[in-house]
Symmetry: C2
Subunit: 150 residues, 2 copies
DNA sequence: AATAACATTTAGGTCACCCTAACTACAATG
DNA sequence: CATTGTAGTTAGGGTGACCTAAATGTTATT
């Protein structure tokens, strides 16, 4: 089974490939915050496991299996980013947290998050009332519906 | 710095201590899903680092430092559990996911999650309208406000 | 083509955790 | 009080992911 970190590598290869059709060791090292030696190593593993096509000193491409895996990762990540930014986490942080989160969540949990994101997105208004309220709550610490109470 | 797994150990010790005032190796192994040998080892480490008081073959207690650390973990976990169950993740799963999540989240993310939980809790109604709507959305896949549309 | 500059790989570690198997301390019971 | 069972420890390994330093292959420049 695909280790947690392997998924990150696949996703990184996927992203980098979108432009040029392949990825290089250096770029991967850079984008994963890791030394080239580690990438080299990991690529061997991924290639043995059939996720990438990789001959030493050549560039990397994903196999079909690899693409599929990478897509799944991307999809999860997107849900998480959307959710996190919706509740007011700054983009930067949302992205890196999403990265970390996607590994550990139970599919059911992910399903609910997906639901939640869809729920927000499918709301009649661009900013549903309650989301507005939430934002205000974050600013003021008070639920706007309780303003005049107490 | 306290490794991810160390936090789990501290939290487990904390929980087990609540009743009897201390924890035993076996219980910890059990509750962490790990063999006693591993616990023994970890306890040595935690004690060297000043989080627990532990003499071989005696029971374990947390130092003040240990309690503080454990409390932080518990607090994070609670927020996460509340949030996850609020969006409809089953209790069981929410608990184990919360466990995994607490390690990886940026403080800012956690802050927003905390906000979100408080927001829900401080709502005038026990079940705010939108939460009802969300539940319905989960069941039916449709946003209730759009019922008669298209 | 020779050399310099850069990209990649290899070899040999480290670190945090976990495991098994064999051992030891201890308490309980006959 | 000797025996047996249980809790805990030790020793020795293993794994995954990372690193540094020293090759080695590749490309570009003169």
């Amino acid at each position: 089974m695909l280790g947690k970190r392997s998924e990150d590598y696949l996703e990184a290869i996927y992203s980098l490939s979108r432009k040029k059709g392949y990825a290089k060791v250096m770029e991967l090292a850079e984008s994963l915050g890791v030394k080239p030696a580690s990438v080299s190593e990991m690529l061997d593993k991924l290639s043995k496991e059939g996720y990438v096509i990789y001959k030493k000193r050549m560039h990397v491409t994903l196999t079909d299996k690899g693409v599929e895996a990478a897509r799944k990762v991307r999809e999860k990540r997107d849900i998480l980013i959307k959710f996190l930014t919706a509740i007011g986490v700054p983009e930067e942080i949302a992205e890196s947290d999403a990265c970390a989160l996607e590994h550990v969540l139970h599919p059911q949990t992910l399903r609910q998050l997906r639901n939640f994101v869809r729920f927000i997105e499918s709301s009649p208004a661009v900013n549903p009332r309650w989301l507005e309220h939430f934002r205000e709550f974050c600013r003021t610490g008070k639920h706007p519906c309780l303003k005049q109470q107490r």
